[in-house]
């Protein structure tokens, strides 16, 4: 027998809560954002257009930052170093909709899965997120981020049921 309080029931039903070990989504892919120059404070680094993630046929259901301890080298060409925790704690990821309105933003460091005891960050946006409108911004750069670095995101998504 499993007891469910009305509050937990409500949070589940409204999509505000999920079991931590539950289904993340149908598909997952890694997205890399290399830097063409040393990162600057206040600059918006937009995600590259992605035919899958931009599509209204897919919704993003979870996101994770892969840091340099999770995987030491990103498989970009040329190879780059994923952000360290010290670098990640200087920036934010902004989720934006079709009108470029910011729906949510989260510090990069809290998206690193290993720092959350293996728990991925679930997402469920009523307003569809347009991937190429999402961006990363740094508000301090005491630990420099150079062209040797890239941001490695693992994005999970599911087809939208029409």
């Amino acid at each position: 027998m499993r007891l469910v309080s009305p509050l937990i029931d409500y949070l589940f039903a409204s999509g505000k809560m999920k079991q931590v070990g539950s289904y993340e989504g149908s598909y997952t892919k890694s997205v890399y954002m290399p830097f063409t120059a040393t990162a600057l404070i206040g600059t918006s680094y937009y995600m590259a257009p992605d035919t899958i993630l931009n599509s209204k046929n897919n919704e993003i259901t979870a996101i994770e930052i892969v840091d340099s301890l999770t995987n030491s080298i990103a498989p970009t060409v040329p190879a780059t170093d994923p952000l360290s925790v010290a670098q990640a704690r200087q920036g934010y990821f902004y989720f934006c909709n079709e009108k470029r309105e910011v729906i949510a933003y989260v510090p990069l460091a809290v998206l690193i899965r290993r720092l959350n005891a293996g728990k991925v960050q679930f997402l469920q946006f009523d307003d569809p997120v347009v991937w190429q409108n999402c961006f990363i911004q740094f508000d301090s750069l005491g630990t420099a981020i150079t062209t040797a670095n890239s941001v490695w995101l693992r994005v999970t998504y599911s087809p939208v049921e029409n």
């Binding site: 931590v20 200087q90 720092l115 728990k119 469920q124 946006f125 009523d126 508000d139």
Partner: protein, 137 residues
């Protein structure tokens, strides 16, 4: 075990201005789109400089959480979350779980933090947090 799903989120901050003193209330700074009793908060997460060094408004984030308590007030001025240690609201201290709240309309600028210990706290720093919310219909 359950964890929170982000539907909408935004950073809030409690700027430590005036003087640094224990017991003094440092209120949340005004964010126009969140300060009209128009958001129903269902989760909250606090940060120190271990998670973010600077807030999006350019203020340095406090480096310690063990001397700060947090109070949230709803739109009826009820302190529904009263003097909760900031430390317990940091995700990394809770095995990655974000603290869930019974969904409530908050009065953002009525919410405040208090210091119980001023060690390693500097004037002008901010206590930073993210709220997870839905808009009021």
């Amino acid at each position: 075990m359950n964890n929170l799903v982000i539907k909408r989120s935004q950073q809030i901050e409690f700027r430590l201005t005036g003087s640094i003193a224990t017991g003094k209330r440092y209120f949340a700074t005004d964010i126009p789109n969140l300060s009209r009793n128009n958001v129903v908060v269902y989760g909250i997460e606090f940060f120190t400089s271990a998670q973010e060094t600077t807030t999006p408004t350019g203020n340095t984030v406090t480096s310690v959480s063990t001397g700060t308590v947090v109070t949230l007030r709803d739109n009826k001025k009820q302190e529904f979350m009263y003097q909760v240690p900031q430390y317990t609201l940091i995700r990394a201290n809770n095995a990655g779980l974000i603290v869930l709240l019974k969904p409530r309309i908050i009065n953002l600028t009525d919410c405040y933090v208090q210091l119980t210990n001023t060690t390693s706290i500097t004037l002008g720093e901010s206590v930073a947090a993210n709220i997870y919310y839905d808009l009021v219909d």
